[in-house]
Symmetry: C2
Subunit: 107 residues, 2 copies
DNA sequence: TTTATATATTGTATATTTGCGATATACATT
DNA sequence: AATGTATATCGCAAATATACAATATATAAA
């Protein structure tokens, strides 16, 4: 997502930018699948959530570095939140942000 | 949005691809603003909808070719539908598709 | 302390996106 | 027919995205 650094039109609001940022994070099928997968797993924190480990890599058939990179994009927009325990980093879906995003599209 | 041509993981569904495609169209603030603007204007077809004319160009402060290109992306994913009358091409928002997109995110 | 595992980062090649001027096309008006 | 207006497309340069191997880092297990 590349945005002009100059004056962006007055008709483009801050909210438009926020919406675009989340949309951008969902603009790749792997990331959509990750969000969906996490939403299913993610009844409550600390239970059975995903990590970026070998299993996940094999499951999605992307390299570990690629997976990590996609997760990073989801983290940067706020959809994914992480919590590290021992060796593992667990990812949680911020359902409230997702809800906010959907509500922004109630046009 | 660049996707591997090879086997995409079984965990990435066709729906994930569809969601990503719409999300991709919304992954730029100008396009979000266009959708929002059209949704406001767009009570019913044939009334007061936008065209890609000079006014719109001035309003959003992007060049005509750039505007046209962004509109094209919105058309390609199906969010915008066009209807040409005389010199003018009017754009309509496919609210059903937008609704479908939002429902796909009810995780 | 060596070794293995989990995750993140860096470097790199390639593809795609973005923005715009220039040009093309199509219809309207003069 | 010539001119003007609305849109679309092309070609270019710069920015960004994608995928992955290699490497770094941190912790666990042996």
């Amino acid at each position: 997502m590349r945005i002009r650094t100059e004056i962006t039109s007055d008709y483009i609001t801050e909210e438009d930018h926020r919406v675009a940022k989340v949309a951008n994070a969902l603009a790749h099928p792997l990331r959509v699948a990750l969000v969906r997968y996490l939403a299913e797993k993610n009844g409550g924190r600390g239970t059975d959530n995903i990590t970026c480990n070998k299993d996940l890599v094999e499951m999605f058939d992307y390299s570990q570095s690629t997976m990590s990179q996609h997760v990073k994009i989801l983290k940067e927009c706020g959809l994914f939140v992480t919590e590290t325990k021992d060796k593992f980093t667990f990812y949680y879906l911020d359902k409230d942000l997702l809800k906010l995003f959907k509500n922004s599209l109630n046009l």
